[in-house]
Amino acid sequence: MSIEIKDVSKDFKNVRALNMINLTFEENKIYGLLGRNGAGKSTLLKIISNRIFSTSGEVIVDGEIARENDKALGKIYLMNESNLYPPKMKIKNIFKWTKEFYPNFDTEYALKLSRAFNLNVNKYPRALSTGYTSIFKIIIALSVNTPYVFLDEPVLGLDANHRDIFYKFLIEKYAEKPFCCVISTHLIEEVSSVIEDVIIVKNGEIIRNQTRDSILRTGFTVSGSAAAVDEFIKGRNVIGTDSIGGLKTAYVIGSMSGENIPDGIEISAMDLQKLFVQLTNS
């Protein structure tokens, strides 16, 4: 049971947005889909959910080609920045209709989340602020109970408190009934504790696809005086450096097993955001 993306490419006129993407989203896993603006994350998610067509390649959901396939598409839910819901329909009625389209939609749970987020279900989507529009869509995404849920910028416009509630409910929901959840976001630090696997997209290509723990083990951070750091990183695979005054930090790919750490040098684990920034800096 998985979503397989096979050789998917997408061209917009003369621009290649995605180039021969090959990926597998397995069931019951939380993925982080990371990439800079314009990297192709949203395009990929739109292709998976049949909103746009790929120029070549296929998306296969549980063994079935997803393109124009109601059965396969019924297993996928995509929440993204676009509001495709009728602007003149009350939120409670949108819940009702979502239940019609997705029979496993849990209306009670949606109402529970609405109360937790303080969302008035008698409002119309067009009357909601940016943050509450995201909340409204998050609630549906968490209540829809499809095997594959894609969240494209789910916390757009949400304040810290609401983001906290969202992560809490996401983990709670996942613990109670695991599902495949793909989160595409720029708030990497926040999401890094939630995700299990990391997929990094750069210029329409996948540059990393591995577990969060293994990706963090691929490198380390070296800090200290510029001279000491420069000496230490000689001959190592350095993916980037930061300098402030006489201090320098280097981001190194590789491991430190059994090596002596010179005085004046501090070694720390790479955090996901730093690694991401260094990997995606052009």
Binding site: K46, S49, N50, R51, I52, F53, E68, N69, D70, L73, G74, K75, I76, Y77, L78, S82, N83, L84, Y85, P86, W97, T98, E100, F101, Y102, T146
Partner: protein, 254 residues
Amino acid sequence: MKLKSIYKYLVCQSGKSYLIFFGVILAIVHIGLLITVSLDSNGGIGGMEMATLTYMLVSGVLIYRESLMVSMQNGISRKTFFIGSILTFITISIIASAGDVVINLLGNTYEKNCNMVYDSMYEQFFMKGIYDENVMVTPALSEYFKIFLLDSVMYITVSTIGLAVSVIYYRLSKAMKIIVPIAFIFICQILSVVIPYIDYNFFDSKIMNKVIPCMKWIVESNYHLMAVISCAAVLFIFISYLFIRRVPLNDSKK
């Protein structure tokens, strides 16, 4: 399953607005009839189907964009959405035709009992000729069935025209959205002015001599008219499908 869901959704959304429209039209007709009767003017009203035709055309145009978005959000393919839309048009057209029969029955009840004339489009076209003076023609019960059939086919056709217009416009670029209507007017001008002019001056009206009998044949029987507009409906359904089947979701147009 998905077809049933989108059909149910579309019928609910379209049905609600039709019921409001029907209530307003029924009230207007009733008030119009009451005024005509109270003024004792020997006048008449009719052709209320034109209002329903306009409504169905607009409804065909409006159903597309919002419903396509709802379909995409809820994992429904374009093909299923398209079939659901056509089934919805058929359903609403049948309901609207039944509504017209109710309005006709009301009008003809007044016609029978008061000194005034009420004519449906069908009565005007097929029961007494288009340009006749106010003559009381009350349809038999069997004629109501023909009214129902003709109205149903007409409404389905205009709905599909509305859908086709909407679908084509959705896919056009900004420049093409301006070029297409201008081209349409240009073609209409050629068909209605230039071709008859050329025909009259260079072909001794041979073209018009062939076209006019065809047009007469179309309007001489309700079944001929129904056959022709059914073909038009099929054509517009086909055109709409060609445009819908590969349409990308244009969610930037919020």
